[in-house]
Amino acid sequence: MSGIWYYMERDMIKWVRGKIAVVALLVMPAAWLIFVGLALPVTFTGNYLDFITPGILVMTMLASSLQGGALLMFDKILGFLNKFLALPTPRESILFGKILFITIRGVIQSTVILIVATLIGATILSPAQYGMIYLILILFGILLSGLATTLALYVGDHDSYAAVNTMISMPLFFTSSALMPYSVMPPWLRAIATVNPLSFAIDAIRSVESGIVPILQVGILAVLCIVILAICMQVFRRMTV
């Protein structure tokens, strides 16, 4: 178990020391929030900032996870993975350490977004509501980082992974319920948006904001998380022995 922590710590030290990467990761989502939340000439709802914040939060989690997916692949390419696999530490802790780090990094970014959103006029929620938002984001982060890490390991080279990454992230974001409510979407977009996994997390956070406890959605997310982790572990085992 402790192996997971030390693997996470290593990535954390490396991330924090690459100062530009930290700044970039924090500025990007804040910029999105400000430009889209405040500057977009159309508003679909009363407080558009409140409406768009969940979308930006989930998008940040997605971007951070997809970007973090490359970490394990690089460890493999640079020869670190072989060194780690020859250690007596349970091998799965390599994978879980990555997932933990990527999720923590996503949560740090999300916190910055929540602070910026509040500063520029989003409604302040109760501690319980914030807690629930974090729970959803963490579950979503684990799910995505597990998927991204395994996918990158499977794809194996950086160029291909970067292509897959771009191919997934942008369409997924624009066809979700992040930017506009279902009611104003054209029917074809509504059909896509309702089955988009991003919308699922976004809608759950919106329910929290409107005072509902989305037990069903959190439950489904949790179950999905466990299933995906189990699959990732299997793939990881098969790819590393």
Binding site: K14, F80, N82, A86, L87, H158, V241
Partner: protein, 318 residues
């Protein structure tokens, strides 16, 4: 109980056989596995360190089977792969401490300082590895490997890409470790280093052990002196009693003889035939290079250099 033991260890990559019925016993010594590129050295190390499952046969490290008791095997060994993998954004101490934590040693801080001191890195332990030289990075990797006091140490090309002084230093450290009771399994391309520092060497070619003994014994099997002739023209192997041909390529041919001084004129005479001109003749004691060429034959690389395949390989290994 032997530190390393293999019985008919075999590994196939699809149809290609990388290691074929390899049987070895290694104990408290520096054992060098020598062989041309693609001969199965690294595959052997990967199987012994549980990073690759054998296709057939068995291997054990400190009495634990590599296929069944993976975790117990990994507790006994340390593995330093070829591609120097240390985190350059972390300090030397952080790099070693990270491994100390992962090995779960008691008193990780104390052990880290000890390992750094053994590798003479104490002065620079607080610097980022970014500022380390190649030799220091290699020593740092050794410190990482030593932090849990393994009984068996696997080193894949430990001195590749280092300058002469750094290489000598690495080997001195390895010797010191052997003195303290560790078993060290090394793969290397550098014959002179293997000759000088390994207690025993195994020469592997196409996955098979071709020669296995102490460097001195291997050299004495090749008789006493080596005579090398440089020539031009077509080479026809001469038959001279008491003189053996060991290798011939690119206008250079080597023989061994019990008594080089007496053999020298005989060789000169035999080579002096129409269609062939001898430019020079020299005589020296045999080195491990000669043993290697004799055991492996003159096969060079397994295939001719193929630009397209080389590019594909580079892209894959990225």
């Amino acid at each position: 109980m032997n530190a390393i033991e293999t019985h008919d260890l075999t590994r196939y990559y699809d149809a290609l056989c990388a290691v074929y019925h390899l049987s070895l016993t290694v104990n408290n010594e520096i054992f060098g596995l020598l062989g041309p590129n693609g001969s199965g050295k690294t595959t052997t190390v990967l199987m012994l360190t549980t990073l690759l499952t054998p296709s057939a046969g068995s291997a054990s490290v400190c009495g634990y089977d590599v296929a069944r008791d993976g975790e117990k095997v990994r507790r006994q060994l340390s593995y330093v792969p070829q591609d120097m993998a240390v985190d350059i954004k972390m300090t030397g101490r952080e790099n070693v401490l990270f491994f100390a934590h992962l090995y779960g040693v008691t008193d990780p801080k104390g052990r880290t300082d000890e390992a750094l001191a053994v590798m003479e890195l104490t002065d620079r332990a607080g610097d980022l590895v970014k500022n380390y030289s190649g030799g220091m990075r290699r020593r740092l990797e050794l410190a990482q490997a030593l932090v849990h006091e393994p009984r068996v140490l696997f080193l894949d090309e430990p001195t590749i890409g280092l300058d002469v002084a750094a290489r000598k230093k690495i080997w001195e450290h390895i010797r010191e470790l052997r003195k303290n009771g560790m078993t060290i399994f090394v793969t290397t391309h550098y014959m002179d280093e293997a000759d000088q520092f390994c207690d025993r060497v195994g020469i592997i070619s196409n996955g098979k052990i071709m020669a296995l003994d102490t460097p001195a014994a291997l050299k004495s099997q090749l008789m006493k002196d080596v005579i090398t002739a440089r020539f031009s023209g077509t080479f026809v192997a001469p038959a001279i009693e008491g003189i053996r041909l060991i290798a011939c390529n690119d206008g250079e041919v080597s023989f061994t003889a019990e008594n080089g001084r007496e053999a020298l004129p005989l060789v000169a005479q035999a080579l002096n035939r129409p269609g062939m001109t001898v430019h020079s003749l020299s005589m020296r004691e045999p080195t491990l290079d000669d043993v290697f060429l004799h055991a492996v034959g003159n096969q060079e690389e397994p295939h001719n250099f193929d630009e397209h395949r080389f590019q594909t390989m580079l892209r894959r290994s990225k």
